[in-house]
């Protein structure tokens, strides 16, 4: 019996379809970066809160140098550990490129905002605005941007569950705004970092391919 050309064609199409779906559904590979920054900012926020309410009595905790140190740890860990994410299979998919761009933009803007808030402290005091209020805006803005980045990433990588983290981030944004000028906004920041960065980071890490290409 001669081979059925339609059968051969069907298996060829099935092969092509499988490959196309594998390419489209390649997992996101930057989970470790979410974990690094969530852990660093969450821990720094919690320690600052505990210092303000006098549970920790170390002067250095919570001041400008402490936060610069925390950010330096975050960037160092991102460089040493996080850069390997870019070597994993799927790192160049549409989903991963969108996620990288969105989160990079978020990181850049938050850093610029924080630096500007530090530099403009004198000006704020001069015009009668408490600089602490400006610093209190960092978490509402940060979580708002997290939500946008989660939403864009969810769409590009077709990860519907990630929209839940977008919603959670916006809720933390509003909660942090509500507690502005209240030390509890740091608790909101710590909890938000855990739920909106560490948790999704761990979920992504479990799905990531382990090999480096």
């Amino acid at each position: 019996m001669p081979p059925d050309p339609h059968s051969d064609l069907a298996s060829e199409i099935a092969y092509v379809k499988t490959l196309a779906e594998e390419g489209r559904n390649a997992p996101l590979v930057g989970g470790v970066l979410y974990v690094i920054w969530g852990a660093v900012i969450g821990a720094a926020s919690m320690l600052t809160y505990l210092r303000i309410v006098d549970v920790i009595k170390i002067e250095f905790v919570g001041d400008l140098g402490f936060w610069i140190g925390a950010l330096a740890i975050g960037w160092a860990a991102s460089f040493l550990i996080g850069r390997r994410s870019g070597l994993k299979p799927g790192a160049f998919t549409i989903g991963n490129r969108t996620a990288t761009s969105a989160w990079f933009a978020v990181g850049v803007y938050i850093s610029i905002f924080w630096i500007a808030a530090v530099l403009f402290r004198g000006h704020f005091t001069l015009v009668g605005i408490d600089p602490k209020t400006i610093f209190g805006l960092i978490f509402p803005i940060t979580f708002g941007l997290y939500g946008i980045a989660f939403y864009a990433t969810a769409t590009a990588a077709r990860l519907d569950w990630m929209r839940g983290f977008a919603l959670a981030a916006w809720i933390f944004s509003l909660a942090a705004l509500y507690f502005i000028n209240d030390p509890r906004h740091l608790l909101v920041g710590a909890l938000g970092s855990l739920i909106c960065a560490v948790l999704p980071g761990l979920i992504l890490m479990r799905r990531e391919p382990s090999d480096i290409v």
Partner: protein, 102 residues
């Protein structure tokens, strides 16, 4: 040929090969991929894949970008807009083939 709805002249020879077809299929989903990632997905040797990628690059279906990461050379392949259009046309051709009477 027209009575079957199938015209062999519509076959895109650039895509119509096992390895190139696999590369185009994977890139149609991923958009871009590292050379080693492609090799793992479509199989074959470095040399074999390079030859097929060159053919796709010559047809401007794929853009090949060479970079360095951690001092190691890296080849990243991107599906171009022309390549995506050709891929869609190829899929249409396959569909017309299936629709043709046995």
């Amino acid at each position: 040929m027209k009575e079957t709805g199938f015209d062999y002249r519509e076959i895109d020879d650039v895509i119509h090969g096992r390895v190139r077809l696999a590369v185009m299929a994977y890139l149609s989903g991923a958009g871009s991929a590292d050379f080693n990632e492609l090799k793992a997905k479509v199989g074959g040797t470095d040399g074999n894949l390079s030859v097929h990628l060159r053919k796709l690059e010559d047809a401007k279906y794929v853009r090949v970008e060479k970079t360095f990461r951690e001092r190691k050379p890296r080849t990243i392949c991107h599906l171009t807009e022309k390549g995506r259009r050709a891929w869609i046309a190829y899929i249409d051709w396959l569909q017309s083939l299936i629709a043709s009477p046995r």
